[in-house]
Every structure is written in C-alpha cells, then in structure tokens.
Symmetry: C2
DNA sequence: CTGAAAGCGCTTACAG
DNA sequence: CTGAAAGCGCTTACAG
C-alpha cells in the first residue's frame, strides 16, 4: 500500500499514489474522481478500484486551493426559533466546510439592521450572502444586495421572485396537505395559529390551510384562528384562547413547531389530553418537534439540506459573477413530507387512528 | 490597493500583496500573521497596518495544505437530547472548518455499537476521535480507542481520568452552586430529577446537589428525588410524581434542560404556576432553555465552545502522534455560569425575588 | 531579525 | 482519450 511520509511525518495517500498504482497520470485520476467524461471506461474502472483499495480520499484543502473557488460567504439571519436556526446553521456549516468556503455570520433586527450587517459583510470581503427566512422574502434586503452588486441566495422563500435564486419548499401545498390530513382524521373544527406577520411564509401557510378547508367544504371559524409570532409563548397564548371557547376546536394547526409545542402545553394546562382530546400539529420538523412529549406530528421541511444546497448555489453564482458570466436565477423547490407522530389522532380518539403514513427517520 | 486576478478571475489579496505593500518578504508577513517572535517590532507594526488596510485575510486552504495539518477526525455521539447535540455539533463543525479538518460523524447505541462505529472510522482513515457525553465517560470506549492506538478527546467528562484529554466543566461545583442559589431564594423543599443512569454526569450532579443541601443543613426527602433519562418525557413524568405529594417541593432541579422543560409542563398540567408556585431549573443552557415559556433558569455549560476546543486539542494530539512525540493528556476545565431566567423565583413568590444576577447573552 | 527556495496535493489550460 | 507543465497561497527548513 503506497504511503507517503509528509514533511510532518503524517502518512497520506495522494492522487500520485493512486496514479502510480494504476499506471496512469495523476491527471487521469483527477478526471475520474471528478466524474469528468473523456476517460475510457476501462481506465475509469481501474482507477476506481485503486481508489477503493488505497482508501484514497482527496485533500479538500489542496482542491480548493487549486480550483480557486474558495469564497467568503455571509449568512444573514433573524429568526425567532432557535431550533430552526440551529438546523439551518448545521446545513450551512457542513456544506461550507466541505466546499472550503469561509463563513461570516451576522444577525439583524429589521431591514435597518440588515443594511448595517450587509455593509459589514461587504467590508469584510464577502463574495456573496445567504439569507435565512424571513429575510429571504424581504424585497428591501434584496434591493440592498442588488445595489451592492453582491450575489445572494434565499432559503425558504415563500414569495416567488424570478430574479432571486432560492431553495424552498411549496409552503402552500404543504399547509394544504397537512390540513387535508387533519380532515381525513375526521376533524372539522380546526384551529390555526398564524406565524409572525413579518414572515411571508406565515401568510402562505394560512392560505394553504384556507384552500384545503374550502375545498373540503369546511368553514373557518375566525375565533379559531389566532395570531402567533413563531415563539413557544405565542403558541401557548394563542392556543389557550382558542381552546377556551365553549365549542372548541378538535385540532390545532400551528405554523411552526415552537408554537405547536406551546399549544400542547396550553392544552395540558387546560386539562386536555393530546391527542385524545385535541390534536396539535406543527410545521418544520425541527428538533423541538421530537424533543417534547407527545412528539409532534408536523410538516417536514428539510431545513439543513436546503441550507446546504443554498451554499452550493451561491458558490456557483459567485464563480459566475467573478468570471463576469451572467447568471440565471434558479428556484429549487424541495419536497416536504408529513411526519406523523403522537400529537395527532383521529377525532374519535387515538384508538381509531388509521395506520401511520410516514415515520420519523 | 493591490489585487491579483486569479486564473478564475477572482480578486484576492494575498500574502504577497501585503509583502509588496510593506516592502518585506512574504516570509516576514507570514511570521507576523502567525504571531511568531523574531520580528522587529517596527516591521510587525507596519505589516499589521498593511494587513488592515488591504483587508488581508489568510487563505485557509493554502495554509492547511502547507502545514500539512489537515486531519480527518471522527465524532462519536449517543445523546438523547437533540438540543444538546446540535449545540455540540455547531462547535465541532465551526472549529473543524476553521482548521481545515475533515469530519466523520457516527452515532452509536451502547458500547457494542461503539466498537463497530470506531472500526468504521479507523477504516475510513480517521486520525482521531471526539467523544460526546456520555461516551466520554465510558472506560470501555476509552479502552477500545487505546487498543486502536487512535488519539481521542472527551467532552464533558464527569469522571476525571488522567490518561485522557478532555474539555469539561466542574459538574459537582455547578450543581452545588445552583442548589445554593435555590436555597438562597428561600427554598428548603427542593426536588431533584436525576439524569440517565448511563451518564456519569448524572451521578456527579446529584452529588453536587446533595453536598449543597447537606452543607445548608437541609434534608433531602427521597420522595422528592426522581429518576429521569434526560428526555422531556422523563422529566414530565418524574415531576408529575414529585408534585403529587401532599407536601410538595417548592423547587425542582432537573439535571438537564429537556427534563426541566418537561417538569414545567407537568407543573402546568397540575395547575401550578411557574415560578409562582414552583420554581423549576435546568442544566446545560441548550436551545431548549430559551425556547420554552417561562424561559428556564439553568446552569450554562458552554457546550459549543467546549466542543470547538476539543477539536483543537485533538488536532494537537494528532500532530504529536504523527511525529512520534509523546503527548501529555490535558484536562481543560471551563467555567460554568448560573443563568437566571423566568422559571425561578423566591419561595415567597416572584415579587420578592432579588435582582437578577446573570442574564442571557 | 529576514529572505530565497522548495513543496504541500490538487486542478486548469494546453498540447497531443 | 491522456499527459507534462505551471500554478493556487501559504509555510517549513535552511541559510544568512
């Protein structure tokens, strides 16, 4: 097994070792590794085999030095849910470390704060910016970035904008799907807790709920609709109100998991069993959803993957920007999924609930 | 402002630009940046100024390629609290991306699972391993690693072991300090929810509680001590039992935040106000603590920093290991702090609570 | 205290 | 379809 002793004495398998082992040039190995065409199938197979055998794995530092695609990217956030944010960050960090991008993280309050933060990023030499929701939907922030001539990508944008690259799910469909599921379970008096009014997704999710209710011929009792702010506390308060009506909803759909967790707590406080007496469902599938009890049925949004993909998109965009090429904005729509856990049940009670349709993985 | 047009057209300030700007060699700039001695103070100042002016910032990829200290490190975890884990991961990821280390993440159940996971890591070419709690306290896992001749560092080790490098806090002191604080607030009937029995920290935290109670001349009512498993649900169940006694505790100290959040929910369920009728405090200061309502008073353990530091320690250790140097195990003890939020109050009620001593930052 | 040379592991651009 | 040369930005090891 070919090994090389580096200056520091480490022993690492390099592309040269593989090349020698196979009897080709390092260039060919590089081609195979990067999945380029123009390599004979036979050569490719031999190289692959050798890579396996020698346990070769490319040195990321060398690669990013050679490709010159190391970039500095900024992450601008302002999000009330820590759970959401940490999952988001996880995706960004793991992707940017893989692609050798340097990261600069700034938070901001409101669009004024955004201006300050973005100027700081520009000054620090950022080549592009990732926007977390609800910033990704802010046309003001987008305008600032365009004026600064900085590439950027929005994550979880709810308002389609053909001029801005983004990674998102279809919030409207997702909210509709969850609502339909509740209706399937026999619920007709369904409450809804809206998200923060400054987030466009809040509006879209409510519209999805509305649409599904309408389609099923169900009426929305406005006293069953509460305003929340994406925080646990706001979900608690809103749910407490909704559940205090003489005729109360049999299910509550909260626009995120933090609020759903708060709603469960409010139900418990009022002596109501979840899901036996009230079904509560959330949105996002953050750590919060599986940290509370009962664990929350929710809409899974692959936050971490979406964030990771946004880094790759931004890097492409930066490359194009650097070389003066024009760049077409792309809108990547990821699939959501319904995750059924213990906080939801048939209106007749959990014993009557049909088989689970999806599971936590 | 000196700029260089790379092959790909990007424009980046390099060490050469700074050197030219100051009129020294790149070598000297490198020395200044790395804080080496053997540079005249005057030269150093000029270089620094130029670095500022040109906004130079070193290319991490080039550095880690040149220093050859890129390593592959494995992270082995098994932790029931998602909140804990994600903060832990954040620290690991951000540090390993800064130091250009490649990361391999594996989870495992029990020591048998550990063997499999560690062999996988070894096969994948890992140069060292980070252990999250409670694995960091497992002497079996330590033994396997030693037999494999793989450097490793434990995070949040509760059981001191002079042969193993680790980053930790003093769990005993921390639990005592929180207990003292509860006593200061006038509580005498204090309940305690233990952590998972497989975690050594569970035991130590309980000992800290015991010690402080004893010192204050207070008795521990064993019916006020519940067994938990670090999950929300277990905290909920345990608290429900503790609070159902005829004379109930006026404060509950849970061994982590997830359980404390569950305890708050249980109190609410029983119609008890927090903190008016029961004070509930946690441990760790994870996202959970500030995501629920009331927000939790807790012991802050700088998980993310500790995890980051563990990566640096491991990297040093790997370097030593590679060059055949011997390596002394180090035990880095970080400071904990008491974070007082809304879930705790004077036994006479929140209106009598003294001024806050610490705040969330 | 300072610098010239060589090299880290990979890829680009070019030539065949 | 394949390869030889040069270079990415930095640091090590050596010489002065």
């Amino acid at each position: 097994m070919a090994r090389k002793i580096g200056r520091r004495g480490g022993n690492i398998v390099t592309i040269h070792d593989v090349a020698r082992h196979v009897g080709v040039s390092p260039m060919t190995v590089s081609r195979v590794i990067n999945g380029e065409k123009n390599v004979r199938e036979e050569t490719r197979a031999k190289v692959m085999a050798s890579v396996e055998e020698l346990r070769y794995s490319p040195n990321l530092a060398a690669r990013s030095l050679a490709t010159q695609d190391s970039a500095r990217i900024g992450l601008l956030y302002s999000n009330p849910s820590v759970a959401f944010l940490s999952e988001f960050l996880l995706g960004i960090l793991s992707e940017s470390s893989q692609s050798g991008a340097q990261l600069l993280i700034e938070s901001c309050e409101g669009p004024e704060g955004a201006t300050v933060a973005l100027e700081k990023m520009k000054a620090a030499g950022c080549d592009g910016v990732i926007l977390s929701p609800p910033l990704s939907d802010s046309s003001r922030v987008a305008k600032i970035l365009k004026e600064m001539n900085l590439p950027f990508v929005g994550v979880a944008m709810a308002r389609p904008d053909p001029t801005v690259s983004c990674v998102t799910i279809d919030d409207l469909k997702a909210a509709s799907a969850m609502t339909r599921r509740l209706i399937e379970l026999g619920h007709t008096r369904i409450g809804f807790i809206k998200g923060h009014p400054n987030a466009y997704a809040s509006q879209i999710r409510y519209e999805g709920f509305e649409a599904a209710m309408k389609k099923a011929g169900l009426e929305i009792d406005q006293s069953f609709v509460g305003q929340g702010y994406f925080t646990y506390r706001s979900g608690f308060d809103a749910a407490e109100r909704l559940l205090s009506h003489k005729t109360r909803p049999t299910a509550i759909f909260a626009s995120n998991d933090d609020m759903a967790a708060g709603a469960v707590a409010a139900a418990h406080r009022l002596g109501l069993e979840v899901p036996d007496q009230v079904t509560v469902v959330g949105f996002d599938d953050t750590a919060m959803a599986s940290s509370v009890w009962p664990e929350l049925t929710t809409v899974r949004q692959p936050i971490s993957d979406m964030a990771g993909l946004s880094v790759r998109l931004l890097l492409d965009q930066i490359k194009a920007h650097r070389s003066g090429r024009s760049f077409e904005a792309v809108r990547e729509v990821r699939d959501f999924s319904l995750i059924e856990r213990q906080s939801s049940a048939n209106v007749a009670g959990p014993d009557y609930a049909p088989a689970k349709r999806a599971s936590d993985s």
